[in-house]
């Protein structure tokens, strides 16, 4: 059904103007100061966006949905994750494919895609984790990148003896990435340091979630960043540091940039609004706030916001990874190293960034759109199909009520998880209507769309 949106104030990474938008099929087909409904098909649905802002659909470049972990699995599937994402205004996800160390890459790709295809209501793509780099894996990774439309890899420096590559393989992989124009996203914490620190802390009887941060302090993350950047300098590969949490890591990335390294930086929602005191709460409550890199000292928040305002940090994701407090997080009651990692915010990200970033004046509306949508589209090869409002782009749109005031709660979140890390937090502003490829999928926080309608977005390599 065609849709006409009238009178909204259109905000993109670069523009701010008022116009009508007409969507037909899956795309935006007209943007004009005033579109006469008489020129449109009779069945056209009209949405009055007077007093509202219209953003391009938000993109979350860093989520986990299908996530096997120690015999359990993260508690969302693509149905609940889509509902949550759309309720908040996010219309495209990029999920991490996380195979085990001996899995074949192609099989993993098929497994992840098969989980997504029948249940997705958002559009989606993947970052392909590289956990082995033997000739077979190499060949399949090449196919996945170039034939299946997944030209972005993910590498862990963090998970010792399991998911991390040797430096030799890392060098070879980055060399291949450069050749194929693939961008390599990276989790920059040194695995063996953390492993040794965990063993030491546990041996000292330090077993609670408050010891998660001390087991991986900022020096560990900065070390990982320096290492990755040096590798990129030698190979020429383009890299993207996910969930950068602290000033030393940001500075490491900037140093690399001044040496000519092609590096992009991602922040994620939790590090922008939470700090490590949350993970220090008593009665195991802190376990809700265990993720990696960990929540940091509060002072790092200001650095991340400053870096966003100056476009030094390009994107904001979530690292959504939902594990229930009861039955999952509590696997780590006796030892923090067994607490599944994750502070979910797939639904909350846009409203929290709007509330804590835009309304406080830390970032402007354009930076908000750029960091939450446009840059993800550009860096990962989906622009201008995604990440912008223009004729020809996918009709992924968020009609935003800037005056809405509400409160976050597990009761109103669509994720299957049993807690909300932001329970009771006030927000101002929310998505009142959310369109994906020309169809309204969410209204006022409720999912009103079609499960299974989401599409795998094929992307082209651009990082040569």
């Amino acid at each position: 059904m065609p849709i006409l949106i009238t009178g909204g104030r259109i905000i993109t990474a670069t523009d701010d103007y008022t116009a009508d938008i007409y969507c037909e099929g899956e795309s935006i087909t007209r943007i004009e100061p005033c579109i006469d409904p008489a020129t449109l098909p009779a069945e056209t649905e009209c949405i009055d966006a007077g007093g509202r802002l219209i953003f391009p659909g938000f993109i979350d470049p860093h989520v986990h949905i299908h996530l096997p972990f120690m015999g359990t699995n993260a508690c969302d599937d693509y149905e609940t994750a889509s509902m949550a994402a759309l309720a908040g205004g996010t219309t495209t996800l990029i999920e991490m494919i996380c195979p085990g160390p001996t899995d074949e890459p192609m099989a993993a790709f098929e497994e992840w895609n098969n989980k997504a295809a029948p249940l997705a209501a958002v559009d989606y793509s993947f970052h392909m984790s590289v956990v082995r780099f033997d000739p077979l894996a190499r060949e399949q990774l090449r196919q996945i990148a170039t034939e299946r439309g997944i030209p972005s890899f993910k590498v862990f420096l963090a998970y010792k003896g399991a998911l991390d590559l040797s430096d030799e393989d890392l060098f070879a992989m980055l060399t291949m990435a450069k050749e194929l124009g693939i961008i390599v996203t990276a989790h920059c914490e040194n695995a063996e340091m953390i492993d040794a620190m965990q063993q030491r802390l546990l041996a000292e009887g330090k077993t609670g979630p408050e010891w998660h941060e001390p087991s991986r302090p900022t020096a560990v993350e900065a070390d990982g960043l320096h290492h990755l950047a040096a590798m990129a300098e030698l190979t020429g590969a383009h890299i993207y540091a996910v969930h950068t949490s602290c000033e030393p890591a940001v500075r490491a990335a900037l140093d690399a940039r001044l040496r000519g390294v092609n590096i992009w930086i991602e922040a994620v929602l939790p590090h922008l609004v939470l700090d490590k005191t949350y993970a220090e709460q008593a009665e195991f409550e802190g376990a809700k706030f265990v993720m990696s890199p960990p929540l940091r000292d509060k002072r790092h928040q200001a650095v991340l916001w400053g870096a966003l305002a100056g476009r030094t940090i390009s994107t904001i994701g979530t690292d959504h990874a939902p594990f229930n407090f009861h039955g999952q997080k509590d696997m780590g009651t006796d030892t923090f190293t067994k607490i599944p990692n994750g502070i979910p915010s797939i639904q909350e990200r846009p409203a929290l960034i709007y509330t804590h970033g835009v309304r406080t004046g830390r970032i402007d509306l354009h930076t908000f759109v750029d960091a939450c949508s446009t840059q993800a589209a550009r860096i990962f090869g989906m622009y201008p199909r995604k990440g912008d409002i223009r004729v020809g782009s996918d009709a992924d749109l968020v009609i935003w009520d800037p005056d809405y005031k509400g409160t976050l709660s597990v009761k109103t979140s669509h994720s299957a998880i049993d807690y909300n890390g932001f329970e009771g937090w006030p927000i101002q502003g929310r998505a009142s209507s959310v369109l994906v490829s020309g169809e309204v999928q969410a209204r006022d926080g409720e999912f009103v769309g079609t499960i299974g309608r989401g599409r795998l977005i094929r992307r082209e390599p651009t990082h040569f």
Copy 2:
């Protein structure tokens, strides 16, 4: 006369696609995959852009044309400057208004505008230099910014006892700028240090142009940057550091950004492709390469290019300031402090950045357009009228022949100056047609336009 441009590959800061462009009046009115000439007025001029790139008209955010100096004047007027700019592909200039220390700001604005209006073939605006900040000046500056459409100031930390403000006035001026949404561009060198160094060097008999750089080493520029940034941190004003020439200055700006300071960085053409050995040439030849900040050690070039690639540096200007070698530069034969400053490149900038940046792979085409056009439009409040190719924008377009090979020379430059700092330098790529507000003004390096057709572009304050 309407113009149809067919088959060109359109390159903007964000886009890369092939389409036809139709311009009518002063604007772009249609961009479509294929525009049928039969639908257009009979008088439409057709330009075949097959095999060519189409860029938004380049903007030079930092030029001097009317520039009184020690009893002489820079040797271009708006006619020669326009011809040179257009021949190279630059369609909009922002000139520095440089009043004397006791001049009234409004009179200076009128003087500069009166020089431009009758002779400009490019569109133009101004940065208003603030050299006094008494109540009268304050009131006139407010009027110039808000009523005359000039919401950008320029301040010197560099010219002692003449054009620089006291720290007290600087603080007050930045406070007013923040209030009015004005961005403050700044020349960040400490005036008194330089003055003392000059006296010392001259007293030691060090009088040649090779002593210009030692009289203002990188520490002086970095000190200025730190000072300006601290001032901006206290006042909240948005600042723009012009002609940043070296790593310590870039780092000072980045440090400020991580503290939340709203700072943008400009590089200028000479620092990207020349180094201080040029100013050390014998027989006073070095005088051709005297500008401030001075040409630096070659290693700083790599830092500037790296910062451009990572969008840490936003813009590339020229600091065009043309003084003849014979009769002007030679005022400083006996003492380098009397050499008029300037290494003109108003015509050469696009081709040199294309040759040394794009073709070497240091920056991609989008960064080229962003730095040479789009960011200047956005930062200085002319976007999307300028700096982009879209329906509704001014029809300022550069049709670029990427395969052209040629050589730079004073013989083919349109500036009135008697030398070319890049004499004999090979270039690849040049503007084959240049449109300003819908009219072809230059073809294949020759001016074919209309003197006086250029317009003062009124801008709105955006830096709140």
Copy 3:
């Protein structure tokens, strides 16, 4: 009366051994594993130092005693200051001579010296503040440095329109200092920024002591450091940054060092153990904790201790400047800018550094001695007469009881001031006996010496 100290563990900046020390006249004349008292004059006083540490007398390179301020004067004279210093273990002071802007330097030197000579029980010297640099001042400063034995200057970047020099004079002064081998100590805060910030805050009704820090944030201090260091780079002068309070300032100094600047860094006691929350206490209590640079966020303490441990910071002083809470600090009840600056610790410094530095393991005993005594002697030209324990050195010795546990209080402090910023703080370790030039001047926190016995120590220029 000769003194024999037996069985103490001698700790210097470099050594740690057990020996007997014999002092005759004003010097140490013998240090031997075991000195037979039978070989000594009968009247020799014996001190059993078994179980005690012996340090060279501590030197405080940064104090104010005679300090006129807004019609009042700091409340110590050399009698009370000497008693306090000696009770804590400090045997030599370097006081700042602080003339008014029009005073002649030589007259100021005489004034300060006349205050000290009759009342000092410690040895003392001065740093000569340079607040004017006209030909007369220049000549007198040269005499003071070279003929009166005061080869260290002090310069303020901080006090606008009063005690600060223009950049022109600063450059000339540093040039003279380099020529004469004089080290220039500097208070690195930018005067005009602070003045503007104070006016703004007061205009906003922000009048309490908690606004002192926001009126001069870390950026202001770092800016001052960068400026001074750039000046030193140009002139070659040796500089010493007093009371460096925060990470950005330390980094600025380190950057300068890597560029070859001869810069030393001083920390002062308050910044090492206090933070800005002290100045935020209610009921004007915060006024007790107003000094400049202000107390900072607590995180800067760790940086200062780390820099001390690595000898990046050379010295620890006090910036002792005692103003009574009642009758002096309360001049600023209505406006924080009128609160006299100072957090006195002339007596408390050694015990607090020992307690918070040595016993916590942040610094070792050698670093303690180096920072609190030896480096001050070396940098300011009193070594090895002062700052070391060796035959021929002045018999300035501290016999330290490492096991003493006590509590600081205004009741046990000898300064004339009416409060103690460390009231109730526990300490471990104190000076049990303190010798100055061979005479016991303090025992167990009590002064037992001779008023007026202190000497002006003439120093030679060494900073060529």
Copy 4:
């Protein structure tokens, strides 16, 4: 035979005075303004040191003598190395014990010590390389450190699959070092990066010595430094970065210091006076200048000198490792990776540092002594037995002729190597007499001592 040295100007890390020195047995027994020869044994040898400087014997904390490599061995033994060291003024060496990856540590210690004991004329100690860390090795390393007096380890991050430790073992080793008070010296280059770069360059036909530096650029060394420092931060171990060659590495170390890491930095002679253009010389001449880290761009020299002047760099060593140009270096004619590493300077270090450091004013005499002698003694637990001139210290003394002018050459060097990297370089100043433990071992560049007289200096752990 007792020795009396009269009239010399004694220069230590802290002192500068003129006195007579009397040495009896192996120690300095008297230092007095004027020693009456009549009070001395008749057989006392008198040395007139009028007009000369007297330094404590220089210590080289980083040499290789017994160095098996690819079936050959470095070409010095302790006889030639001692002769060379002594001729230059170096009286104590610390050699690296370099076992193979499967060798038992104790056997390696015995092997190295057996090479040294019969032939050494200098005093010596070792750094014990840790190339395996299984339980057997762990136990033997503990014994070597605590029972054999070798409390300093060496670790390579650099030699892939051969001599480097896994991060897990590195963490465990540092933990043990902290517990035992052992300092860990480290070669900070990442092994796998270099290996990959070498393979790539060779595959591209880049086989000459000029490719050695590009195979291990500054980013690789800085990465190693960051990694080591992060490890030290986690474990608390004290670390010492050997042969730091460039600004990024120095900055990495300084960053660590401000975070509280106990890190010391060593420079070596070649990086202070040579640059990478030496390794780029034609006809394989560059092979003479291949060492690791490689010679760098010339600009890094100034940073190293600045860091020395500010005592940020503590020591200057040589990394002496002599391989003949003919028969050894030429193993790498076809491929630079097979060129044995080393730019020998065991004899030349003092004269070159004096010539290029002291005489140019880059460092003063005290810093010269501190960096070339005293700090090595202090950091490695030999102070004050070594590294100072005082009663009770070993009579290791250098009588220095500051006015000597000469030229370096392979002809006058005592090392067995067949070339001199500094052939024809002018020097000013040299050791005219060199005493080791009270005996003259060298005069005017000639060895006049006793082979086999050198002693293994047992050291105690101090780095708790």
